[in-house]
C-alpha cells in the first residue's frame, strides 16, 4: 500500500530520466527488504512512533503474563518468584467455580448477541426511514446521551427505579399487576433481564452511529432506479439498504465476538447482591476478587489469560466463518 504514495514512483519519467529508472526495469525480482527500507527510509521512519508505542505499551507488558505460570510474590519480583507450570490453570479448570463462571459468562454473552447486538441496527434502519429531518436529528442526539453516563449512575438509577421499597417503576408495575411486591434488583431471576435492559438503554443509541454512517453512504441513484422499476419501500429496503450495511454488520459481529468473555466488570459488580451472586459471578468479577481483593495475582492472571485466549480464538473463528459464508472478513 505504502509504495503507491512514494513520489519517485508517481513522478512520470521525464526526458532526462533518472539513472535508477532503467535499472529498475531490468530487474524483475523483488527488492530485498533492507534496500526497500533504505530507499523509503523517511516513510518507514514515520511508522516508527506507532511501532514503538505498540512494542512499549502493548507487547512489553505481556512479559507480566509469565506470572500466570509462577507463584508470584511481589516482594520477590518477577524473576525471583518460583515457576509452578500449569498449577493455576489446573486449579481453575478443576475448581468448584469454573462451571458456574463459564455458564454465567456465556449465557450473558448469548443474551447480549441476541438482544443487544441487533438493537442498534434496527434503530438505525428505523431512523433511516424517517422523513422529517428535524425529528431524525433530535432523536439521534437524545439516544446518544445514556452512553455518556457511567455505570455507577446507571446502577443507581436502576436501584432508584426498581427498588422494592421506593422504586417508581417497581411500584407502578405492582399497581398494574398486583399481588406480592417483586424485588427486581435483588432477586436472582431478574438479574439477567435487568443487565440486558441496562445494556440496551445505555449502548443502543451510541451503536447506531456506525450503521447510520454506512446508510448515509448508499448511493441515492440506486433508490431512484429502484423506484423507477416500481419497487416499493419494502423492496428498496430488502434489496438496497440491507445489502449496503451488511459488511458493516459482519465487521461489528466479528469485533463483538472477541469480547464475548468480557461481561463488563463495572456493570456486573454494581448489580451483584447476596441474593443474585450465583447467577451474577462472571470471569471479570472473579478476576477482580481473587486478584485485587485476595491478592492471588498469579491465579488472577491465569484466569485473565484464559479469557484472553478464548477471545482470540473467537475472533479468528468468526472471521473464518464470515469468509466461509462469502463475506469479506476483517483480515
Amino acid at each position: 500500500m505504502a509504495t503507491d504514495l512514494v513520489p519517485s514512483q508517481v513522478v512520470p519519467p521525464s526526458a532526462e530520466a533518472t539513472p535508477e529508472a532503467p535499472r529498475r526495469k531490468r530487474r524483475p525480482r523483488p527488492v530485498p527488504l533492507w534496500r526497500d527500507l533504505l530507499r523509503y527510509r523517511w516513510l518507514y521512519l514515520l511508522l516508527l512512533p506507532g511501532l514503538v508505542y505498540f512494542v512499549v505499551f502493548k507487547y512489553l507488558p505481556m512479559y507480566g503474563l509469565t506470572i500466570a505460570f509462577k507463584d508470584y510474590v511481589p516482594f520477590l519480583g518477577y524473576s525471583g518468584s518460583e515457576w509452578v507450570g500449569l498449577k493455576h490453570f489446573q486449579e481453575l479448570f478443576t475448581g468448584p467455580d469454573f462451571g458456574r463462571l463459564m455458564f454465567n459468562t456465556l449465557l450473558l454473552a448469548l443474551l447480549t448477541i441476541v438482544f443487544v447486538f441487533p438493537a442498534p441496527i434496527v434503530v438505525a434502519l428505523m431512523l433511516n426511514e424517517l422523513r422529517l429531518r428535524v425529528l431524525k436529528r433530535s432523536v439521534q442526539s437524545l439516544i446518544y446521551i445514556p452512553h455518556f453516563l457511567s455505570w455507577t449512575i446507571v446502577a443507581s438509577l436502576t436501584y432508584l427505579l426498581f427498588s422494592v421499597d421506593f422504586g417508581v417503576i417497581a411500584n407502578w408495575i405492582h399497581g398494574l399487576v398486583g399481588g406480592q411486591k417483586t424485588d427486581y434488583v435483588a432477586q436472582a431471576d431478574w438479574f439477567r433481564p435487568l443487565i440486558v435492559l441496562q445494556l440496551l438503554w445505555k449502548q443502543t443509541g451510541w451503536g447506531t452511529i456506525i450503521y447510520l454512517a454506512a446508510l448515509a453512504g448508499v448511493d441515492s441513484q440506486l433508490y431512484e432506479a429502484a423506484r423507477v422499476d416500481g419497487a416499493g419501500r419494502w423492496r428498496q429496503f430488502w434489496h438496497i439498504t440491507l445489502p449496503a450495511i451488511r459488511p458493516t454488520i459482519v465487521v461489528m459481529a466479528i469485533l463483538t465476538s472477541g469480547h464475548l468473555m468480557d461481561s463488563g466488570f463495572e456493570q456486573i459488580w454494581l448489580m451483584t447482591t447476596s441474593l443474585n451472586r450465583d447467577v451474577a459471578d462472571v470471569f471479570d468479577t472473579f478476576v477482580y476478587y481473587i486478584g485485587i481483593t485476595q491478592g492471588s495475582f498469579s491465579y488472577a492472571t491465569a484466569v485473565g489469560l484464559f479469557k484472553g485466549v478464548v477471545g482470540v480464538v473467537l475472533i479468528f473463528g468468526s472471521n473464518l466463518l464470515a469468509k466461509r459464508l462469502g463475506q469479506r472478513g476483517l483480515f
Binding site: P7, W42, L45, L46, L48, P49, V52, Y53, V56, F57, L60, V73, P74, F75, L76, G95, P96, D97, Y159, S163, V164, D165, K181, D183, V185, A186, Q187, A188, T273, S274, L275, R277, D278, F286, Y289, I290, I292, T293, Q294, G295, S296, F297
Partner: protein
C-alpha cells in the same frame, strides 16, 4: 517534500519516539534511592479532603517527631484495594496502616516485605501493647506484624426512635422478646401518627463484610448465644454458623422479614444511606455501633435544632434463655506495619520505631487526635473544647485532625484516648457519656472470639470460594429464597469446599497459640 524538509521530519519523528519511550520508562525511576533518613514515607486512610503537606498540623507533627513526613492519603472506601496494589508494587511506604489479617498483606509479610515486630516493641514505652486483649487480638498466628490502633473494646448497641417509644408507651428493650414487641408495634401501631401503615421496625443495609464482621446479623446471633466468629463446642473450636443458636437467631430474624418488621430492601440498601430511612421516619431501629446514635442526633438537629431529642441508645440484649451475651469489638482497627523496602537493617528499624514512639507519645497523640492546643481547641478536664471555629486556618487544622491525622494514632484514635471532643449541646453530651457506661456494663457479658488472632492458611488460599458462601446463604434464608434445610446444605458446602481443612487448622493453631 517541499513544506517539510526531510531533516525536519526526521527530527520530529525522533523527538516523538523519544517522548514515547521516556513516558514509558518514567514509571520506576525514583525507587532505587534509599529513603533519606530524615524522611518517613507513610500510607494511611483518609475520610475527607487530604491535608496540605505544608499545613500547620503536618508541620507541628513533623516538629514533634523530628522528621519530614511524606504521606499518601487514600480514601477509606478504596483503602483495601489500594493497599493490595501497593503490596505488589516496588513503592511500599516505610510506615503503612494495614489490615494485618488480609490475605495479600500476609502473603507479602511472609515473603519478607514487612518487619516481624514480635517482641521488638517492648523497649518503646509508647509502642508496647498497653492491653492484653488487644495485643492478642491484633496478632496473626502468634506474630506481631504491627502496632495496633486502639479502639473501644465494645461499641455494639441498638439505636431506637425515642419519641416513637414514648408515643406508643413502650419501654426500652431488655431482651430479644422486648425488641420483637417494639418492632411489631413500630410496624403496626402507626408510631408516626399519620394514619397509614408505612413504617417498619428495623433498618438493615446491604452488608459489605462477610461472616463475623459486626453486621446486625452477627450481633443478633451473639445475643442468641451463638459464638462470635469461632467458639468452643465439645472441646473443639467450631465456626459460629455451625451451631443451633445460629439457626435459632436467623429463624427468628426470618420471621421479622416475613412480617414486614424489616425494611423490604435489606439485601440491597446501600450502607451509605443507612441513616436515611431512620431520619425520614420510615424505620425506628438500627443495630450498629454506638456512634451511629450521635450521628443520627446530629442529623435530627440539622433538621430541627429545637426538637431533636429523638434518639436513644440501648446496649446488648438478653437472649431467649434469659442470659445476656454481648457482641464485643476487636478493640483495635488495623495496625501500623513497617516495610522492609527501605528500612533494611535493625538500626534503621530502631530509628523508625523511635520516631513512631515520639509520634505516639502523650504530646504526639494530642496532635493527632485533637490538634494544636491553643489554636483549634483548649483542654477542659477530659474534654477538648473547640476554639476559633470561624478562622479558616483553624478550620483546616480541625479538618486535618478529624479526616486524616487521627488515623495515624495508635494510643489515641477515634473514640478513645487524649481528650474527648466535647459536643456543644446537653443531649449529645449525655449520649456520648452513655457510651462508656454501656460499654463497661456489656463488657461483663462479652463473648470474645477465641480464634481472632488465627488465620488458617486454607482460608487465605481458598478465600475466593469460601468467603461468600455463609453470608449469601444467610441473606437468602432470611429473604425466604431458601429453606432451613437448604441453609444447612450451604453450611455443609462450606465444609466441603475447604472449610473442614480450615476448622482443623484453626484448632491446631489455637492449641499452639494457647499452649
Amino acid at each position: 517534500m517541499t513544506i517539510f524538509s526531510r531533516r525536519r521530519l526526521a527530527v520530529a519523528v525522533a523527538a516523538s519516539t523519544a517522548l514515547l519511550a521516556a513516558s514509558a520508562c518514567s514509571g520506576g525511576d525514583d525507587s532505587k534511592g534509599q529513603a533519606a533518613s530524615d524522611e518517613l514515607t507513610v500510607m494511611a486512610p483518609l475520610f475527607g479532603t487530604a491535608p496540605d503537606p505544608g499545613g500547620e498540623l503536618q508541620q507541628a507533627v513533623e516538629k514533634q517527631i523530628g522528621k519530614k513526613l511524606k504521606i499518601t492519603w487514600v480514601p477509606n472506601a478504596e483503602y483495601g484495594d489500594k493497599s493490595n496494589v501497593t503490596f505488589a508494587s516496588d513503592k511500599i511506604p516505610d510506615v503503612m496502616v494495614v489490615n494485618e489479617k488480609g490475605p495479600s498483606f500476609l502473603k507479602a509479610a511472609e515473603a519478607g516485605a514487612f518487619w516481624d515486630l514480635t517482641g521488638k516493641l517492648d523497649k518503646y514505652p509508647n509502642l508496647k501493647p498497653d492491653n492484653e486483649q488487644r495485643a492478642k487480638n491484633s496478632q496473626t498466628n502468634g506474630k506481631t506484624y504491627g502496632i495496633y490502633r486502639d479502639r473501644p473494646l465494645l461499641r455494639s448497641g441498638i439505636v431506637i426512635r425515642k419519641d416513637w417509644l414514648a408515643k406508643l408507651g413502650l419501654k426500652e428493650p431488655q431482651s430479644v422478646d422486648d425488641l420483637y414487641a417494639i418492632a411489631k408495634a413500630f410496624t403496626e401501631r402507626d408510631p408516626d401518627g399519620n394514619g397509614k401503615k408505612d413504617t417498619y421496625g428495623l433498618i438493615i443495609p446491604k452488608w459489605p463484610g462477610n461472616y463475623a464482621s459486626a453486621s446486625p446479623y452477627d450481633v443478633v446471633e451473639t445475643w442468641f448465644g451463638a459464638p462470635n466468629g469461632w467458639g468452643e463446642r465439645d472441646g473443639k473450636l467450631v465456626p459460629g454458623f455451625d451451631t443451633p443458636e445460629f439457626l435459632a437467631a436467623n429463624e427468628w430474624l426470618r420471621r421479622w422479614v416475613k412480617e414486614g418488621l424489616v425494611n423490604p430492601d435489606f439485601a440491597t440498601l446501600d450502607s451509605a444511606n443507612w441513616n436515611d430511612p431512620f431520619v425520614q421516619g420510615k424505620g425506628g431501629m438500627i443495630i450498629d455501633v454506638n456512634v451511629r446514635a450521635t450521628q443520627l442526633l446530629d442529623l435530627f438537629k440539622e433538621k430541627n435544632p429545637k426538637d431533636f431529642d429523638k434518639v436513644t441508645l440501648v446496649g446488648n440484649l438478653k437472649g431467649p434463655d434469659g442470659e445476656k451475651h454481648s457482641y464485643p469489638f476487636t478493640g483495635y482497627n488495623m495496625v501500623i506495619a513497617i516495610s522492609k523496602q527501605h528500612v533494611r537493617t535493625d538500626e534503621q528499624l530502631d530509628q523508625v520505631l523511635q520516631t513512631l514512639d515520639k509520634l505516639e507519645s502523650k504530646e504526639g497523640s494530642v496532635l493527632l487526635a485533637n490538634g494544636i492546643e491553643g489554636r483549634n481547641f483548649k483542654a477542659d478536664g477530659q474534654y477538648a473544647v473547640p476554639i476559633n471555629e470561624t478562622d479558616p486556618k483553624v478550620k483546616a487544622i480541625q479538618n486535618d485532625v478529624d479526616k486524616a491525622f487521627i488515623q495515624l494514632g495508635t494510643r489515641a484514635g477515634v473514640g478513645i484516648g487524649a481528650y474527648q471532643p466535647r459536643p456543644n449541646d446537653a443531649t449529645s453530651r449525655a449520649m456520648r457519656e452513655s457510651f462508656d457506661v454501656l460499654m463497661n456494663e456489656d463488657l461483663k457479658t462479652a463473648v470474645f472470639n477465641p480464634a481472632l488472632s488465627i488465620v488458617a492458611p486454607t482460608a487465605v488460599s481458598k478465600g475466593q470460594t469460601l468467603d461468600t458462601i455463609i453470608p449469601d446463604a444467610r441473606i437468602k434464608y432470611l429473604s425466604g429464597a431458601i429453606t432451613e434445610d437448604q441453609l444447612k446444605a450451604q453450611i455443609k458446602r462450606w465444609y466441603d469446599s475447604g472449610g473442614t481443612q480450615i476448622a482443623t487448622e484453626v484448632n491446631d493453631l489455637a492449641a499452639k497459640a494457647g499452649g
